[in-house]
Amino acid sequence: MSTAVPPPLWQSLFESRRLGEPAPAAKVAVYAALFFWTAVVLLPLYWVFVTSFKLPVDVDSGPYYLPFIDYRPSLHAWRYIFVDLGRDTLRPYVNSIVVSLAATTLAVVIGALAAYALVRIRFQVKLAAVAAFLLLLVAVVIAVAYFGVYWPVAAASGAALFVLFLSTLSRRFKRAASNTDIEFWIISNRILPPVVAVLPIYIMFQRLHLLDTQIALIATYTAVNLPIVVWLMRDFFAGIPIEIEESAQVDGCSRFRIYVSIVLPLARSGLAATFMLVMILAWNEYLLALFLSTANAQTMPILVAAQHGTRGPQWWYMSVLIVIMIAPVVALAIALQKQIARGILLGAIKG
């Protein structure tokens, strides 16, 4: 690589010094592009942040960019949101924390169990039984809706018929769904647009008098995020060497014991990644909260979205809300970028 005469400067700009390294000019272009995108990412966040310290007059009289230089930062919006509106801000915030934590925990616990079973245990679900179940479900719905049958009666007789079918006729049918079919069925629920399912869920919770409660949101969020948990955890569990579990089984450990004391500790990092991802999805969820909560169970996205009041957009207050809403998530994203990205990667690469 050592040349006696150095090439002229203009030429060396376009030639790479070492194999595999971009030439200086290309390097400058790469950095320029990357810094441009950095600005694209950070400018919106920066603008929200500085707007939260502006007085209305600073927002109204043209764009000011730099606090202390362009304008004098003020805490008035923060005081209004935290002191004057204190409880009205705190309630949605607490709701958001409670709902997303509880729903994520439930989804991860239930989903990881199912994912483990689907990876390690062979299932055979008779297709005929599935068909019978769906037919009976439709029949029950029609009976309740059109013939006015009292719904517990209809549901009970439907269940009874189903059990009867399972214990008698279902033996005659051979075709069964395997583990991959069950996995596909669970994961494919992600394709279902939530707006299709949310109307009946709304009616269901209305009947149970659970509308606008945290319970309704927790249950729904758990259900929506379950497919993601199963999808991600399946791959983490499949990556654990089966020999350890087999030897534990030989030693007389039960399935649950193996799961709790051997498999879960080994899948710890996967669990953490999944937990984080689902937590963020639940924290940011909008549509379901829009349908299922009005006042008491209102979550942060709904509070932020409802800010466009009658007095026109009050950007300073809105910015404070957006900042307190996204600050924890952005902090989490920066601190745990590797772990969260792993969750995303696993889902996307293994597909």
């Binding site: 390097k27 299932f123 394709i191 087999e246 924290w283």
Partner: protein, 379 residues
Amino acid sequence: MAVAATTAPQQAYAAGLGDWLDRHSGRIMVLPAALIILAFAIFPLVISAYLSVSRFALAPGGFTLKFVGLANFKKLLIGSQQYHLLGTFGGFGAIEWTVLGLTIVGLGFWLAGYVRSPELWLPGLIGRLVSTALAIAVVLLLLAAIVAGGVPGSLVTTFIYVVAGVSVQFALGLGLALLCAQPIRARSWFRVIFFIPLMVTPVGIAYTFRMLADMEKGPLAPLRFALDLGEFAWATDPWSARLVVMIGDTWQWTPFMFIVLLAAIEARPHEQVEAARIDGAGPSQIFRHVTWPAVAPVAATVVLIRLIEAFKIIDLPNVLTNGGPGLATESMTLHAFIAWRTQDLGSSAAVGYILLFISTVTCISFFNFGVHRARRYQS
């Protein structure tokens, strides 16, 4: 394993709850998940199907549901609400007929090729017929509502978001990932920064972009004076309003593409890249012959995941523009929500079902003809 086989029956006969639990452990483990999905996905789907064929009305002490057959779908597809879902159509000229004709001929050839191939299989043929029918219908709609000078409805707008949004996000994500895969300094720093938008609440993004897009008081106002754009209000023009929604969406979702594609690029066989370099291959040749074949399957999968999510868009249009001006930025989910708010539950469920049908057919078609092919391409 031989030991396990002899001890298992002995354990099975031992009485007690613990053993019963152990023998049925598989079912017990899957049951909660299956029940939850039944209660929150399958059962609602059945009820929703029922709602979509009824008319909802408030009555003293509750509500009534009257069976109306396919009237809700009829109203949306060919009746009084057609303008809302599909849009109003312009007359077809020479260009429109040509494009439509070319699409039909192209898809016809593709189908004919399949019929004559040895892989012919009845369900495969039916699936391809459904995909083809949807593709032709979508092309027809896009032509009638956009090219021919009509006004797009929520279905067309959703398709614009999905197709334009996902392609732009993919292109940007791939570009950034290729840049970040270079041996440069501060790569991990860029990676962390680029990751942030994915975590930010869409509702927050919507308001933020409303502030940014304010050409009077926003940070980009000097740009307007510099470019001498004069009075310009993005919110009153359909296309600029849609553009702002798509910019917000792109800001949020490019990181997703970026993160996954970067991992795929970094996992490509290193020796092949080195060998290609020593043989004097340029960057574009390395990309075409080494990087792309390694990345294609992952790329197809991320696009599929994005497609699935993109069809559900509601937060951004609802908060940014409230669906306006007119119907310009209204997505199908927002359409269903608005119908629900006006207590037209039948239409709401019908719109939901149409969305379900379209997104399912699109995603499955993409899986069969995109993801599968990409995976075969690699091997």
